[in-house]
Structures are given as C-alpha cells and as structure tokens.
Assembly symmetry: C2
Homo-oligomer: 385 residues x 2
C-alpha cells in the first residue's frame, strides 16, 4: 500500500490547466461535507447557478456545473442536442474541434467538417458558406478558445449566422470563460460548456454548462432518449430545478469550491478580470518575443500562449528543467504540435506579474537567450498598460 | 451574487451517502493542486490504483476511479462492454437494477429483466434459469448492495453461473465496497463499479471501477466505438497506463482525497472494517426493532438499514426534526418506497457507536417510543459483540 503522507510539491501552474488555486478555494473544497439533498447544499447549488449565470452573462435557467470534467460538458451538449441521423457542422482547427467531431459521430450524427489550419480561426462568411452547402445541418459547433493552438475564435456574429439557417450554435469555452468575454445572451449562443480549472481557478472536476431557449426546445422535441443516462439533461434539469428530483449524488465539496472560486471572480469583476488577462498577456508576449519565440495563432488568446519551440531546442528538457528546477509547469504541444509548441497559461490566479517575471527569468537562460532583455520588454509593456 | 461566506452546518451523515468525511481526507482534498501530468500526480494515481486493487481484492490492472460520480461507473461498464444489439440480463429488485436496464437500453442492448420483489435477492439458480431461457445473453448485471431497499445480494456463485454461459458478470458495489466483502477475483466478477461517498468516506465525485481479463477481451473485440467519448476505456486505459496519453484533465484534488480515504481503509484493515460495520449494524438493528421498526429486506446490508415508516408517522416531519434539531441526516425512500421507508446509513466514518446512540436517542421520542429500551437493546448487542 502506501505509507507516504500526501505532500504535493509547490508549483506555479502555467500550463493549459489546472491553474493555481487560491487558498480560499482550497479551504472551501475542504469544508465539511453535507448531504446532497441538505437544505444548505440546495442553497449552495442556487448560489452556484446564479454566479455561473453572471459569468456566462446569461439569463438561462438551465445553467449549472455537470458532475464531471470539461470534456463531459462537450459530450453533454452533443448527446442532448443531437439525435441519430442529425447533421452537424463542426469547425476543426485543432484538437478540440476534432474531438467534437468524434463525440458527435458517436452520437450518430452525420458530421460535416469545416477546416482551418491549426492556429487559424473561422470567419462568419466561411460558416455561412458551409451552412449553405449543407442546408440539412441543425447544429454548428465551434471552439472559442482552442487550447491546442491558442487561437481565439470570434463569436459575435455566429449566432445570427446559425439561427438564419435554423441551426443551434454550440460553443466550447473551456479555456476562455472568466478570462475573456463569453457573452452567451448577447452573442446568441445556444449551448456552451466550460471547465473549472482554467480561468475560474478551481481544481478540475466540474463542467459548467448553459443552455438557452432554442436548445431547450430542441431537447423537448427529441424523438429518442439521450444515449447517456449520466448526462441526460431531461433528468438533471429536475435535480437542479424546483423538484430537486434525485438523479445522482452531486459532488458536494467540488460545488463548494466552484462557488468560492466564482465569488472571487465576481469580487474582482469580469471586466477587471478580462483587463488583467490582457495586461499580463501583453507583457508575456513582449517578453517571449524578445526571447526570439513566435506565436502559433494569428489571433492569440490572452490566457493561453502557444509558441513554437525553436529549432534545435529540446522541448521536453526545457519543460523538465522549468518544473524540476523552478517549480514552474508549462504545457507541451498536442497532436501535430507535439514537441513543436509550448502552451503557456496565464489563467485566473496564475495570471499575475509574478508569473510573467518568473517564467521569463527561468526560460531565458534555458534557451541561451537574454532574459534581461525579455524582462525589460515585459516591463515596457506594463508601463504602456 | 452572494456575499455569504461558505459555512456548512455540522451534520452526522447517516443517509444513503455521502457519509461523514474524516478530517485527514478533507485536508488532503484541500491540498495544493498540481498539474494532472505532474510526476507527483502520476505517483498519486499509481498509489490510488494500488489501494483500489487491494480494496476490490483484485489483481486487475484496469482499476481506477472514473472522473465522475458512481452512476457514471455504471454507465462506464455498460457503454464499454455492450454493443448495439447485444443481449443483457439485468437483475431488478430496486431502483439501481432498474437504472441499469435504462442505461443498457440507451446503449442499444436488448434487455432481459429478471425481477424480484423490492427487498428480495436472487439465487444462483434463478440467474441460471434466466440464462438458459435467454442463451443469447452475453452480460449479466446485478446489484450487490441495493441502496433503495437495503438488500444484500450474495455473489459468490454468480461468476461461475455467468461464465458457464459465456456471459460477463457486472456488479454494482456502490454502497458495499469497503464496508462488506467485495471479492472481485475470488468471485469471478468481470467488471465492478463503486462510489467514493459511501463506505470509503470520501466526498462524492469519483467512481472506482475495475475490469478483469474477460472484460478486456470483450472490449478488444468490439466492432464499434463506445458511444461515450468521456467514458471510453480504450482511451482512458492509455491515460492511466504507461503511456499517460492525455484524455481529459483528471480531478486532481478528488484523487488526493480518495487516496487518503483508502489509506485510512487499509490502516484499519478490510476485515476489521467489515467487522465494525457488522457490529454497529447489529446494535442499530436491535435498537430500531426495540423501537418497533421493521426491516424491509430479508438479507440486510450492514451499512444501509432500510426500515418501514410506521403507519401514521409523518416521514418528512421526522426526517426534518432529525436534521434541524439534531443535525442528523437519514434518507427517505425511493420510488415505490417514497414516504414508506427510511434508509439509515452506517458507512465508513459514519459507522460508530456514537452514531448508533445518537440516532436511537433522537428517533425514540420522535416516534413516541421508548428510547431507553432501544438503547438498552443496542447495548446488549454490543456486549454480545
């Protein structure tokens, strides 16, 4: 067995998630467990829903965390909104669009792919053209924050484009929520899922989701049961609704932690939080570019900085030295970017000046580059605001 | 939003789960988060697997917690071991057997039900007869611990019965694991799932599962992908295996907590833990019967005591008084037992003499019965051992 006392090492989490978790959130996580039908827990659920609505900027009643990690949020959207034989259009410009195709195919959908180079994004015109070419499509899936490439997909016009063709718009906001605007109602997003371990800075374990009126109507008109019992919103709605009908046993302590992390989000304020992410991204970018690194995406996310590993540099060796010698975690590349890209997170509590400074200071010497110049470049970016 | 500081009330959790969580487990839960690919977390995963193997009493390599609650464990077994058109036989004697039918049906199975009265269990002969009547069946699902009725299904002979007909045996041990023997290898159980919030006394959020050689062979021979991406073991095996191939972001802190809860299980020792559950069950039963209450099942689980609500007693009122006045949670009935049964848990850290005494002392006056006599009956049971 194991006699070893749990003793996690001290880390600065600057990968693609999890991000650093604030002490208040860890304390909430470790608060005494109550029953999942306890009146106190019902209050915690209500608070969490209200805080999530504010975070997603939506009035959607069906807004809550699914009892599993972010990828289960993707599957929740698909298995509730797609029936066998339905046609869907998925934007594929990285790992997570690819996954959405896989998930939709398993749900029996006929999947139409619209593809862009990894690191690129889609224009509304491209989506519109694809919908015109496939008029039978009833659901469009896009990734707001492609965590595999750092690309930031504009969403403002996509709701109108999808709705004009009687299709729902489903959005992956796992990495962006609470770090950049995700305006569900203003943008006409019909269903959206996220994770807790990115810009919300709660440990991984839950997947916040939100579903609007069009999505509810689609669910109500289903001819078949959702293929997943665990993710079936027709039952989970009753568990999170007035009826409080037993479905599964909710992860009580994770809900405590999410509630506390969301309180921190709104104590700071969404706009201030977005500005903080932009500020430190700008400084990090200036510093990384001074080190000779180049960004993969044209439109970079602020919270996820995907840069090319320079020729001749030992990807794994650099990441290992950052972790072992400095206690700093950054992420490697996924799929075709394996060994060729680094993914540097500035998410939630991991988005501070200290994180930017520590990373540039550690990375410079490992690349044989001038850390001083990088830190000066970052400093200038901070002065410029 | 909410300005209210998280402040859960003090409870004695004696419902069908969650059970009381020991301080060491809460402390582990709130330990600093590290990355899910951090070498330290990989050690935590290995420890957890080893501890779970010992708890399930199995050598199965494919033993780990799924990243969702117990019901996702049920779905994991079904969606990985069943393909559309497969015939399955499910034992239905309560809510959870009923659910297994629902889950299997959603996976495209042809479901054959073998039914027993709620509170009854199945004999090996009954299962064998059903398999003879349906020779096309390739999977038998039974519930070891029917949490809706408190019935304790004997499993010793069912593996041989299923295997003689080339069927897999799948077992629901959500409520029994770590509180009563669950001997996966000795009993020839091919796949089993559990929860963390019952006799393991960890908060809800993960579902320990184990799969043996026959189950692996069935998965390897699949003609179709599992319908669930999130629960697809062909990918999760690589994440928990040597390859550490990224699948989803594991719930890091919940794994800390599960590891710590399992360390407590094995510090006590499984046999000692089972004996403790039998001891307090015997005393509680003596006390409840002295209060005039009768058990629903013929073969009662030690950790879940399902008794009839006496005629004329206000079910919800009694439970509310226990919760509000005494801080004691017990469970109500499910399905046809709604309003007609109480489910009293003695699980893990909630299985102590203090729990038995407090409940009998609180319940007696609420029923207008003699608590003194109940406590004397419990005391005699303790003396008898």
């Amino acid at each position: 067995m194991t006699d070893a006392q749990l003793d996690p090492p001290s880390r600065m989490l600057m990968g693609p998630g999890p991000s650093d978790v604030p002490p208040r959130v860890l304390a909430a996580l470790g608060a005494p467990t109550v029953g999942h039908l306890d009146p106190y827990y019902l209050e915690v659920m209500d608070d969490t829903r209200r805080l999530l609505q504010a975070t997603f900027r939506t009035e959607n009643t069906l807004t809550m965390p699914m009892s599993a990690t972010g990828m289960a949020g993707m599957e929740t959207c698909i298995v509730n909104l797609v029936e066998p034989g339905d046609h869907v259009l998925i934007g594929v410009n990285g790992v997570f669009g690819e996954r959405m195709c896989d998930v939709a195919g398993r749900a029996g959908a006929t999947v139409h792919r619209i593809e862009a180079e990894w690191g690129e994004t889609f224009t509304p015109q491209q989506i519109e053209d694809a919908l015109r070419a496939h008029p039978e499509v009833r659901l469009v899936g896009v990734v707001h924050a492609e965590t595999s490439t750092g690309a930031h997909q504009p969403l403002e016009e996509l709701g109108a484009v999808a709705h004009a063709r009687d299709a729902l718009l489903v959005v992956d906001a796992v990495t962006s929520l609470a770090g950049a605007p995700v305006d569900i109602d203003a943008w006409g997003v019909d269903a959206c899922y996220s994770g807790t371990q990115k810009c919300i800075s709660c440990p991984p374990g839950l997947s916040p989701v939100t579903f609007g009126e069009r999505a509810l109507a689609r669910m109500d008109a289903r001819r078949t049961k959702s293929q997943s019992w665990y993710l079936d919103l027709s039952m989970i709605r009753a568990y999170w609704g007035e009826a409080r009908a037993y479905h599964h046993t909710a992860p009580v302590n994770m809900t405590y932690a999410l509630r506390e992390a969301l309180r921190l989000v709104h104590e700071e304020g969404l706009e201030a939080r977005f500005a903080r992410h932009r500020l430190h991204h700008g400084a990090l970018r200036a510093g990384l570019e001074a080190l000779g690194l180049s960004y993969v995406p044209k439109r970079s996310l602020p919270m996820l900085n995907c840069v090319r590993v320079p020729d001749g540099v030992d990807d794994a060796g650099v990441r290992r030295a950052l972790l072992v010698d400095h206690g700093i975690e950054i992420g490697g590349g996924l799929g075709p970017f394996k060994g060729r890209a680094w993914r540097i997170g500035l998410m939630g509590a991991s988005c501070t000046r200290r994180h930017v400074t520590a990373l540039l200071g550690a990375l410079g010497p490992l690349l044989g580059a001038d850390a001083g110049a990088a830190l000066r470049a970052a400093d200038e970016a901070y002065r410029a605001g």
